[in-house]
């Protein structure tokens, strides 16, 4: 079964707060540089892009390379001025897009 993303986003924040966001997606991050037991190359399969949006506006995005280890973990900060929803997307080499959302309420 596909593993679900792991997220840590504060439920509440004060207006203008810089909040810490942690995300992790279980994923093999197969680099494409390894050989299997029979000497055949194991094809590359990585998350090549991660995007975070808040209420539809981009907050943070990163291109990932094959050297990134399994289960890519991203920790970053975002300033929140209004209540809303963070949307996270992980884009796999095979085209699969895994998404997750977390809401934060600005007091």
């Amino acid at each position: 079964m596909a593993e679900k993303p792991r997220l840590k986003v504060p439920k509440e924040a004060k207006k203008g707060d810089l909040i810490e966001i942690k995300t992790l997606l279980p994923h093999v991050m197969e680099s494409g540089q390894r050989k299997d037991r029979d000497g055949k190359m194991i094809p590359r399969k990585i998350i090549n892009k991660f995007v975070c949006e808040f209420n539809g506006k981009p907050v943070f995005a990163v291109d990932l390379e094959p050297a990134v280890a399994a289960n890519p973990y991203m920790q970053f900060h975002a300033k929140v001025d209004e209540s809303g929803t963070f949307k996270f997307s992980w884009i796999d080499d095979d085209g699969t897009v895994t998404t997750a959302e977390e809401s934060v309420t600005v007091m």
């Binding site: 079964m1 992790l24 289960n71």
Partner: protein, 422 residues
């Protein structure tokens, strides 16, 4: 039990006993009284024939003791006579003592001056950096490497010669190197010096799923809990409130099981109980079994380990476990009590050898170096393979005795599962 009391072929042997059974285990803290849990008593609880895990060294060590078999040749009774002074190649010797592919290298246990760049040597055995000043005879040095048991029957040093790690010429080279050692080791950093290297401390948040991927098993197990097996029932069918029912259970395991006449840990219990009830095939060391074991231990987190050590059967099993833990096994000829008794709390190369207490409460644990969950039986198996002994299948009765002995030594330690270790 529906369908006329038979769940599926091969399950007709399930035994129902009407004796009372306190599900909370040794202490009976919850005071719940239920029927004894059904168990599949036929067959094995792990793959047969047992196959060593992918990626583990493939070696046949069947000429040496295992925990299930005694095969090691007897130790020599007297030193070998060496005619004349030994003239080996000291440079080759300095490489051999640091060669990790030859049973772990001398540096695993000894500081040896500049050998191996004085890089992370262990301190289990005497510092040999000035052995060249000790006035030892060549014959004594040769025999100490060849088979130290001729001088000290209690030694933990592997019999490098009689167990075939090194030939005579190679031992001669090492003797020649030892004779060149005349001044204390110069360590590049404090970490290289095993007397100053701080013991490892595990501070990670082992119950945080971002830190510890083994926590994902808790979610996975909760899905498995509701999944119907071949018999049409799920765990949920009988255990609707897992949180309350299993608040302490895992801390009372392992336990002597009279129907199988062996000690069962959580993992084998899950295999046999699931087979007998839901019909699920959750063999030990399958992903499902590991997930269920993590979950059932997790539910009992914080509970002090308290296993049955007083019934006659438990006492006998603990006694057997204690004897097994002192059996020298494998090509390296080591016993559990060597590394985790006699020389515990020392460094074997860069690895800390810990006492048995504290080595049970976090299993199954996440291995960050392997990206895998290991239960205690797999840990036992790796210890064996590491000292070049053939491992037993995870459900071997010997591991049951050993696990109970280990759990008894961890009495009172609070469960914190899944752990997280290198």
């Amino acid at each position: 039990m529906t369908r006329g009391g038979i769940l599926a072929s091969g399950i007709a042997t399930v035994v129902f006993m009407v004796t009372v059974f306190a599900i909370a285990g040794g202490s009976g803290a919850l005071g719940q009284v239920t029927k004894e849990a059904p168990l599949e008593t036929k067959g094995e609880a792990s793959v047969r024939p047992w196959k060593r895990y992918v990626g583990w060294p493939a070696r046949d060590e069947s000429t040496y003791n295992t925990l299930g078999n005694v095969a090691t040749p007897a130790a020599p009774t007297r030193p070998r006579k060496i005619a004349g002074p030994i003239t080996g190649d000291a440079k080759k010797g300095s490489e051999l003592v640091a060669d990790r592919d030859r049973g772990g290298s001398c540096l695993a246990c000894h500081v040896m001056g500049p050998a191996g760049g004085a890089n992370l040597p262990g301190n289990i055995a005497p510092d040999l950096s000035e052995i060249g000043n000790a006035g030892r005879e060549d014959e004594w040095l040769f025999n100490y490497i060849y088979d130290a048991r001729v001088y000290n029957p209690e030694t933990v040093m592997p019999p490098w010669g009689s167990h075939g790690f090194f030939n005579d010429e190679e031992i001669n080279d090492m003797v020649a190197f030892l004779k060149t050692l005349r001044s204390p080791a110069a360590f590049k950093t404090a970490l290289d010096d095993p007397s100053k290297r701080p013991p490892p401390v595990e501070k990670r948040e082992n119950l945080d799923p971002i830190e510890n991927p083994a926590m994902w098993s808790v979610d996975k197990a909760q899905e498995l809990w509701k999944q119907a097996g071949a018999a049409g029932k799920s765990c949920q069918s009988c255990h609707a409130s897992a949180n309350a029912e299993f608040k302490t259970w895992a801390a009372s395991m392992p336990k002597w099981e009279p129907r199988l006449e062996k000690v069962l840990g959580v993992e084998e219990f899950v295999t046999r109980h699931a087979k007998a009830t839901t019909g699920a095939d959750w063999l030990m060391e399958s992903d499902e079994n590991r997930a269920m074991s993590v979950y059932l231990h997790y539910l009992a987190n914080g509970t002090p380990i308290r296993v049955d050590t007083t019934s006659p059967e438990a006492k006998a099993a603990i006694e057997r476990g204690k004897e097994l833990s002192a059996r020298k096994v494998g090509q390296l000829n080591m016993a559990c009590t060597d590394c985790h008794g006699k020389v515990a709390n020392h460094w074997i190369r860069g690895q800390w050898l810990a006492e048995p207490k504290g080595q049970y409460d976090h299993f199954p644990t996440w291995r960050t170096s392997l990206l895998a969950i290991w239960d205690i039986r797999q840990r036992f198996q790796w210890c064996q393979v590491n000292i070049r002994a053939d491992e037993l299948p995870p459900d071997a009765k010997e591991y049951g005795d050993l696990e109970l002995y280990l759990a008894a030594q961890n009495d009172g330690q609070k469960l914190s599962v899944p752990g997280i270790r290198h």
